[in-house]
């Protein structure tokens, strides 16, 4: 269900991809997002400014605008959870390498994403953040994560938002995943009308 939006402010023809960053509290979601979005030369990051949640990047020689929906600070808003997921094309599932519980949460989040998007294959990437921590603090075994991700064919990357390791690579990889998915998505859509597309259904009935 690749959603290509037309933003009035956008350059015509520019590909727009909505990415959602999810994960349990304290794994460094917001730091990842800010690290990716922030202009390195400004000291102040004001999240209320429109431009501060989007970035134009070039992946494999093709430009695209990436809009980030970050769920940081909204763990308590159970009501908004599905809405966040509905709004995205690609998903960044973040856990912290020093928090075993957060990896378990990622597994649950994955199920939830698939359920909300009503599809078996949704572009996503699993991210183990805080790889800068000393080895003795690691709680999540690398081999377990790799086995899990390999089995599901979901890319996995270790990152450190703090020391800027693999942050840009993560977002670039996810853009690639979204692009891979696109042709499949349109096929799927033709076969079974997507849920949540109220308006489309309505106009469909006019034909009857």
């Amino acid at each position: 269900m690749a959603k290509v939006q037309q933003d009035p402010a956008a350059v015509p023809g520019l590909e727009i991809i909505d990415l959602v960053v999810v994960g349990s509290g304290g794994v460094g979601k917001s730091c990842m997002t800010v690290r990716f979005l922030k202009d390195e030369f400004t000291n102040e990051y004001d999240p209320t400014i429109e431009e501060n949640y989007r970035k134009t990047i070039t992946v494999d020689g093709v430009q695209c605008q990436v809009n980030i929906v970050d769920t940081a600070g909204q763990q308590e808003y159970t009501m908004l959870r599905d809405q966040h997921l509905q709004s995205g094309t690609g998903f960044l599932l973040v856990f912290a390498l020093n928090d075993r519980g957060s990896f378990e949460e990622v597994k649950e989040l994955r199920e939830r994403v698939l359920k909300v998007k009503d599809s078996k294959r949704v572009p996503m990437i699993i991210v183990g953040n805080k790889c800068d921590i000393p080895p003795e603090q690691r709680e999540v075994e690398l081999s377990a994560v790799q086995t899990y991700c390999h089995g599901l064919k979901v890319p996995f990357l270790e990152t450190s938002a703090k020391t800027n390791i693999n942050v840009n690579e993560t977002f670039h990889e996810l853009v690639r995943e979204c692009r891979k998915k696109k042709p499949e998505a349109s096929k799927e859509k033709a076969a079974a009308p997507a849920k949540g597309a109220k308006k489309e259904k309505k106009s469909g009935c006019a034909i009857l």
């Binding site: 800010v34 308590e76 009501m79 009935c205």
Partner: protein, 425 residues
Amino acid sequence: MLSARLLAEQLTLVDIHLFRAIKSSEFSIYLWGRSEERSIRSRHLLEYIERFNQVGFWAATIVLTQSHAKDRARAIEKLVRVAKHCVRLHNFNSAMAILSGLTMAPVNRLKKTWLCVPTRAMAELSELEELFRYSSNFKSYRHLEHTATPPMLPFFGLFIKDLVFMNDGNQRSLPTLGDMDGSASTSSRSGISTSYSSTPNEKVHGDQPQTKPEPLFNFEKASLVHGKVATVHFLQKHTYSFTPDVTPIPNRGMAPTPSPSSTPSTAIHLLAMPTVRAVTRRASAAPVSRGSGSFPVPDGRRRSIANSEISPTSSVAAAGDSTADALGPRVSLDSHNTVATASGPVVTMYEYCRGLPTLDEKTLDRISRELEAPPPAANRGVAPSGGSGATLIVPSFAAAGDGGTSAVDPNKVEYNSVERVVAAS
């Protein structure tokens, strides 16, 4: 039927009461406190967040507890109007909550129901959705909030998110001139807790980068965070001019319709009563199942709800012995508005809005799947849910519930879709 305006007003009164209870210090605990500390020392803040969920789940519950698609559509229509009134009252928080309730997957997937929603209500809903759209970082909503005058209840989810990003997105201290090699752009969660929090936070000092010269304090960050918290402080000074409504809620629409074969009920059970015992006692002949709370549960599904858990945060205390229990444990206000009658306590409009009845997500999801499952696919679709009551229920109501509606409604459906096409072109 109670007016949408009154409902919106009373919801708003409850909201502002909770909003005004939040202390500025709670924000610092929320941002920088330990998780076990949060639940105690930022209690009001969490209560207000929970209120958002409550309103949202209530909206979904109201829709899903109607037996007929037409009634569900009318409930949606009504809730859209309530949300519109909330916007008019600048209660953006509850407007957004109702909207989330209506866009929640269990409600969203009710195809037949959505086809019955009048065109005008659909247009109003799209308007609201447009207003609260995520795109461009809530551009339209931010504009609205910026231009609105107090009293106002901002969409708190966005507020909290902004606050978290201001905290996480800006480093606590800035590099000195001799340290501009980029390594200092590290953002840490430690924040500027010392300015707001009264708790000694050793971690803050421990996290400080080991730079030779004294690092510069990032005043921009402090200013951003302070500005945000000050907004809340400012808004808390304002109240609404209307008062709690003490009219007892009329009995109409409280009891569930006795049988599915009866004529389609015209009453919207927007007033699913929170006082379990009052209702059951008075209408002792009415078959309200135990544990189903106070909902006018659609026939045939009564059992499935009875078997399911009522969410722990739900304000419906099924076994509650006192009015206070039934009104929800989380919001503890004095119950001076309770009007006692011979037949038991009757709830006022204000109290109803305070203890909005809700069902938990799982139950809503199951009801939703059962409600509009197409008869041939019903067995296939329901089997995985594995609920003890589920398999029993589906056949009976596939025949009674929506089968009838689809037969009744084709005109309306056609009318709707034609209108939409006209509107779209």
